[in-house]
């Protein structure tokens, strides 16, 4: 099945109305669409991971706070205020980074405006991912790891892989777009 229109029997249409468009299916345009799609997908994945982290943190806080209030160890108002501060802190550090990564990656995928800010945020999150895995290995070696730790490890590894794919796609996309721009101006990279 051809993806390009073959105008044979209806040259009349071309002569009258002009050839209106050609499919851009050379390797560079196909790669541009592919990496753009992967970049957007991994950006969405990063954001979803961040939202899940926040929800998990909130659930843990509710659980701990509930048990402390029930044990009358902490007065209610202080517990609520303290939880709000902790959640806000995690929100700022955790999800804001991921939001910046998501926003930058989506913008680059859609419009081609590339910035390095979101790449830097992604690298910071990657560094945290390395730390998280090392932390688990350390505790596993000391036989202090539990089921929750294993689940957290799976989450962190997944997040790590998504971020690696995001950064790789971003650079591949930039390279392909430079190549396309060079070809359109008559040169080659």
């Amino acid at each position: 099945m051809t993806l390009r229109k073959e105008y044979k029997e209806h040259d009349y249409l071309i002569n009258t109305y002009g050839s209106f468009a050609e499919a851009r299916n050379d390797k560079f345009h196909v790669d541009e669409r592919r990496y753009s799609s992967i970049l957007k997908l991994t950006a969405n994945g990063t954001l979803i991971m961040g939202i899940w982290s926040l929800i998990k943190c909130f659930m843990e806080m509710i659980g701990d706070m509930g048990s402390e209030i029930l044990a009358d160890e902490v007065p209610l108002l202080i517990a609520i205020f303290g939880s709000a501060v902790v959640i806000a802190f995690f929100f700022m550090i955790g999800i804001s980074f991921r939001y910046l990564v998501w926003r930058g990656a989506c913008r680059e995928a859609a419009s081609g405006k590339s910035t390095n800010g979101y790449i830097a945020c992604a690298i910071i999150l990657l560094a945290y991912g390395v730390y998280a895995v090392a932390y688990f290995i350390y505790h596993a070696v000391r036989k202090e790891a539990d089921v929750q730790g294993v689940l957290k490890l799976i989450f962190d590894v997944t997040s790590f892989i998504i971020l690696c794919e995001l950064i790789a796609s971003a650079f591949r996309l930039r390279k392909v777009r430079k190549e396309i721009a060079a070809r359109e101006t008559g040169g080659e990279l």
Binding site: M1, L3, R4, K5, Y7, E9, H10, Y12, L13, T16, Y17, G18, F20, A21, E22, A23, R24, N25, H29, V30, D31, R33, R34, S37
Partner: protein, 386 residues
């Protein structure tokens, strides 16, 4: 395609092929009736349910999506609206068997099945000709989509641009799809309705061109998009050019069915017949309107000098209901039903013989005797009667 092409344009094609006004009316009625003949309607006329050529939205909502249900849906839609182009084609990349089965159902014009569809209608009456014309026309409008629910084949995403010529310049505008079926398509804002995204592979939302809404059926549509099966390749679709090929191929096919031409081959178009009317036809096709029934009707009436009745689904209902059991097959609806079952039987058989179970099983009656759905017994009786 819509009523404007299936009914009025088919009338014009039939008239240009040399049929009389009355014959052209039967042909165009049958062509449009393929979009109306649902199980609900067949129940109302106590007709065989296996002759259904389409499904209502309500029927689709109730349809099962287990294996037999999917095969039932595929039998209807692949036989009449999304005729596969090449049942033996393989995707470029390695893939699973399940994916390959669906890939091979992708619709396109000028395939072997399209030729068989026309040849099958030879000598079977005007109703069979109408069914064949509907199938042929839809292979042009519905190409690149498959008549089976599949998100990996039929899905489209936000990479969907309409190409418009304005003041001699080509402009590309991203189309916005919304999922409210109550809203009409807005051509000015380029907002069109489509089915909701469902990541379930077998959801009926992913059947045919539902994910692109009615847009592929508009004769003025020229667009660029990325089909899910194309591995990030894009497709540029030029409906005015495709529809004129569909129209001229229909004229050629109808001349063959009439007996003016000895053989029917694909990739042949009777451009000479439309020479005096080319500009007028192109003007209708390029008119940026969701419905050009009035324009096609005026063209057809100008051609023949007769008035073309508006489509009435119940036009031949009483004839069928009042006929006795032996005489039902001689009525218009009776012959339509036979033609539809014949077409469905042929396509299902070809899909089955290609090793593809997407449309279920098919039995060669000639080799193994009659088995299966008793509705098809009347096909056998008709053949024996001949």
């Amino acid at each position: 395609m819509q009523m404007d092409f299936h009914y009025y344009a088919t009338y014009a094609a039939a008239y240009l092929a040399g049929y009389s006004h009355e014959e052209s009316m039967v042909i165009c009625y049958s062509a449009q009736f393929v979009d109306e003949c649902t199980r609900t309607y067949l129940k109302s006329i106590k007709g065989p349910l296996s002759a259904a050529t389409t499904q209502l939205q309500e029927e689709m909502a109730d349809a099962r999506t287990d294996l037999p249900g999917i095969q039932d849906i595929t039998r209807i839609w692949a036989s009449f609206h999304f005729l596969p182009r090449d049942l033996y084609r393989n995707p470029k990349r390695r893939c699973s068997r399940a994916y390959r089965r669906k890939y091979r159902l992708i619709c396109g014009p000028n395939g072997e099945l399209a030729a068989e569809t026309v040849r099958l209608a030879k000598g079977k009456g005007l109703e069979a000709a109408g069914v064949a014309m509907h199938v042929i026309a839809d292979t042009w409008a519905h190409q690149y989509f498959a008549g089976t629910p599949s998100v990996v084949i039929n899905n489209v995403n936000e990479y969907f641009y309409e190409i418009i010529s304005r003041d001699g310049r080509k402009e590309e505008h991203r189309i916005r799809f919304n999922h409210n079926p109550a809203t009409a398509d807005n051509l000015e804002k380029m907002e069109y309705t489509c089915t909701v995204f469902q990541n379930s592979e077998k959801s009926v939302m992913n059947l045919g061109h539902g994910r692109a809404g009615h847009f592929p059926d508009y004769s003025f549509a020229r667009y660029r998009y990325m089909p899910a099966w194309a591995d990030f390749n894009e497709v540029v679709k030029d409906n005015p050019a495709d529809y004129i090929l569909a129209f001229t191929q229909m004229i050629y096919a109808l001349k063959y069915l009439k007996g003016d031409i000895e053989e029917f081959d694909v990739e042949k178009y009777d451009m000479d017949s439309i020479d005096p009317y080319r500009d007028e036809i192109l003007g209708i096709l390029c008119k940026r309107q969701t419905d050009v029934c009035a324009e096609w009707k005026a063209f057809g009436e100008k051609l023949s000098g007769y008035q073309i009745e508006d489509f009435d689904i119940n036009k031949y209902k009483d004839e069928y209901l009042t006929a006795d059991e032996g005489g039902k097959n001689k009525t218009v609806l009776g012959r339509f039903i036979l033609a539809a079952m014949s077409q469905k039987s042929m396509v299902t058989n070809r899909i089955y013989k290609s090793g593809n179970r997407a449309a279920g099983y098919s039995i060669d009656i000639g080799e193994k005797g009659f088995r299966g759905i008793k509705d098809y017994a009347r096909l056998l009786q008709e053949k024996e009667g001949d």
